[in-house]
C-alpha cells in the first residue's frame, strides 16, 4: 500500500465527509425548531391536534429510520394521483426522512424538558405580572434549553452516525465511499479511515456541545 493510494483514498473520503456534514447541519437546523413546534402543538387545548401529534411521534419512533428513508424515496412516487408530484431526488428525500424522524425525537425531549420545570416558576412569573407569552420566552424556554441540552447533544451525536444509513439509497457520504472503495480495491483500509473520520467529527461536535452547555449553565463565572 503506497502513500499515493492513502492520499487518494483519503481525499475521496473527505468528499464523502462533506456530504455527511452537510446532511448533519441541514437536519439539525430544521429538525430542532420543527421538534419544538411539534411540542407546542402537542400542548394544544384542542384535543385532536394532540392525538395527531401522538400518532406522528409513535410512527416516527416506532419504525426504523431506514424504512422511513425507503418509504420517502421509493414508496411515495407510487401513491395514486399525487405520487408523480412527490418524486424526489435522493438528497432531498433523505433530508425529509431524517428531519421528520429527528423532529419526533426532539419533540419528546422538549416535552420532557417542559415537564421538568417547576410550576412555581409560572406562578412567580404570574404574580410579577408577566403574561403567558412573556413567561414562556423569558422564564420557561431558557430553563427548558438548559434541561434538554444533554439529551439534545446525545441525539445530535447519534445523527452523525445515522447519516451512514444514506448508503442504502446510494448517497456518497463517508460510509458509501468507504464501502465502494473496499469492494473495488479489496482493502479494509478505507473502513479504518471512515471510522477515523466519524470519530473526528464527533470529537469536534462534542467539544462544541460542551461549550454550549457551559454557556447555559447557571453557575457564576466569577466564583
Amino acid at each position: 500500500m503506497d502513500s499515493n493510494y492513502i492520499l487518494n483514498i483519503t481525499s475521496t473520503m473527505l468528499q464523502g465527509a462533506k456530504i455527511t456534514v452537510l446532511v448533519f447541519f441541514i437536519v439539525i437546523i430544521a429538525s430542532i425548531p420543527l421538534g419544538f413546534f411539534i411540542t407546542l402543538l402537542g400542548r394544544s387545548k384542542f384535543r385532536p391536534i394532540g392525538w395527531i401529534v401522538n400518532i406522528y411521534i409513535t410512527i416516527m419512533r416506532g419504525t426504523p429510520l431506514i424504512l422511513q428513508l425507503f418509504f420517502v424515496y421509493f414508496a411515495l412516487p407510487y401513491i395514486p394521483l399525487i405520487g408523480p408530484y412527490i418524486t424526489m431526488e435522493r438528497l432531498p428525500a433523505a433530508l425529509i426522512a431524517f428531519i421528520l424522524n429527528y423532529a419526533a425525537y426532539f419533540a419528546e425531549i422538549f416535552r420532557g424538558g417542559l415537564m421538568a420545570i417547576d410550576k412555581g416558576q409560572n406562578e412567580a412569573a404570574k404574580v410579577l405580572g408577566f403574561n403567558k407569552i412573556q413567561t414562556f420566552i423569558h422564564i420557561i424556554i431558557p430553563q427548558m434549553i438548559r434541561v434538554t441540552l444533554p439529551a439534545l447533544s446525545n441525539e445530535s451525536i447519534t445523527l452523525v452516525k445515522d447519516t451512514s444509513l444514506l448508503t442504502v439509497i446510494s448517497i456518497a457520504e463517508i460510509s458509501y465511499v468507504a464501502k465502494t472503495a473496499v469492494t473495488r480495491d479489496a482493502s479494509v483500509f478505507p473502513l479504518v479511515i471512515a471510522g477515523a473520520l466519524y470519530l473526528l467529527l464527533i470529537l469536534i461536535l462534542t467539544i462544541i456541545l460542551r461549550l454550549i452547555e457551559k454557556k447555559f449553565s447557571y453557575t457564576s463565572k466569577s466564583l
Partner: protein
C-alpha cells in the same frame, strides 16, 4: 376604605370545600398573620387573593378595584391591575434559576413595568443593600442559602412597587437559624407600614409583629382579633388547642 375587602369567598377543589364562607377586611398598614393547622385553607386564601386560584363564589376588592364579584371575574386587564397591587413571596422562593440575583430583580421591572434600565438598576441596588445582599448581585440563586434566597424573593416582589405583600409560609422551608434573617427583613417592612398578609407557623413572630391575627380552621375564619385577644383570651376551644400545641 379598606385596602382589601373579601366577602363570602367560597372555593372548593372537586368535592373538597377548602374555603367555606370567608369574609374579612384589611386596612392600609395592617400586618395580618393568618394562623391555622395544615389544610385549614390559609395558603389557598392567599392564592385566591392574587388570582393563582379561581374562586367559586364571593367578591374580592383590592384598593377599590373589584376584580371578582359574586364569583364572576372581571376582564383580564382589571384582574391584572388589581392583583399587580400585591406582591407575593412563596415558601419555595421560586427565584428564576437561570438569572443572577440582579437579573431576577431587574427583568420583571423591565418587561412588565417597562421602566428604563437606570431607574431599575438604582432601585435594585438600594433594595439589595437594604437586605444586606448587595455583594450577591452577580451570583446565581443556586449559590445562595435559603434565607438569602427568600430575602432576594422579597426584594424581587418589592421591585414592582406593591401596596400589599402576601407571604405564603415564607420561613417554612428554612432552618430556625436562617428563619431569623428572613423575619428580620419582614419586620423592617412592617415598620415601614407596608400592608402585609402572612401565612405562617411562626407564632412568636405573629405575636410580636402582627397587628391582627386571623385564625383559620376547616376553611373558615374561626376567630380574628389583636394578638392580645387571640393569644391571651381565645374564645374557641379549637384556637386554644392550636395555641397550646404550638408552644
Amino acid at each position: 376604605m379598606s385596602i382589601i375587602e373579601v366577602s363570602h369567598l367560597k372555593k372548593s377543589f372537586g368535592s373538597l370545600n377548602v374555603l367555606k364562607d370567608i369574609s374579612f377586611t384589611v386596612e392600609k398598614g395592617d400586618v395580618i398573620a393568618i394562623l391555622g393547622s395544615s389544610g385549614s385553607g390559609k395558603s389557598t386564601l392567599l392564592r385566591c387573593l392574587i388570582d393563582l386560584e379561581k374562586i367559586d363564589d364571593g367578591t374580592i376588592t383590592v384598593d377599590g378595584d373589584t376584580f371578582v364579584q359574586n364569583g364572576i371575574y372581571m376582564p383580564n386587564k382589571i384582574v391584572k391591575d388589581a392583583t399587580m397591587k400585591m406582591g407575593m413571596v412563596f415558601q419555595h422562593f421560586n427565584l428564576f434559576p437561570h438569572m443572577t440575583v440582579m437579573k431576577n430583580l431587574e427583568k420583571p421591572a423591565k418587561i412588565v413595568k417597562k421602566l428604563d434600565s437606570k431607574t431599575i438598576q438604582k432601585k435594585s441596588k438600594i433594595l439589595l443593600n437594604k437586605v444586606g445582599l448587595l455583594d450577591k448581585a452577580d451570583v446565581y440563586p443556586d449559590q445562595l442559602s435559603g434565607g438569602q434566597k427568600q430575602r432576594v424573593a422579597i426584594v424581587r416582589a418589592l421591585m414592582m412597587n406593591p401596596e400589599i405583600m402576601l407571604f405564603d409560609e415564607p420561613t417554612s422551608s428554612l432552618d430556625p437559624e436562617i428563619t431569623k434573617e428572613v423575619l428580620h427583613t419582614m419586620k423592617q417592612l412592617a415598620e415601614e407600614k407596608m400592608t402585609m398578609l402572612i401565612v405562617t407557623h411562626e407564632i412568636g413572630f405573629a405575636k410580636e409583629v402582627a397587628s391582627k391575627i386571623l385564625f383559620m380552621s376547616n376553611g373558615e375564619i374561626l376567630e380574628s382579633g389583636t394578638p392580645d385577644e387571640i393569644f391571651n383570651n381565645p374564645k374557641h376551644e379549637r384556637t386554644k388547642l392550636f395555641l397550646n400545641n404550638s408552644f
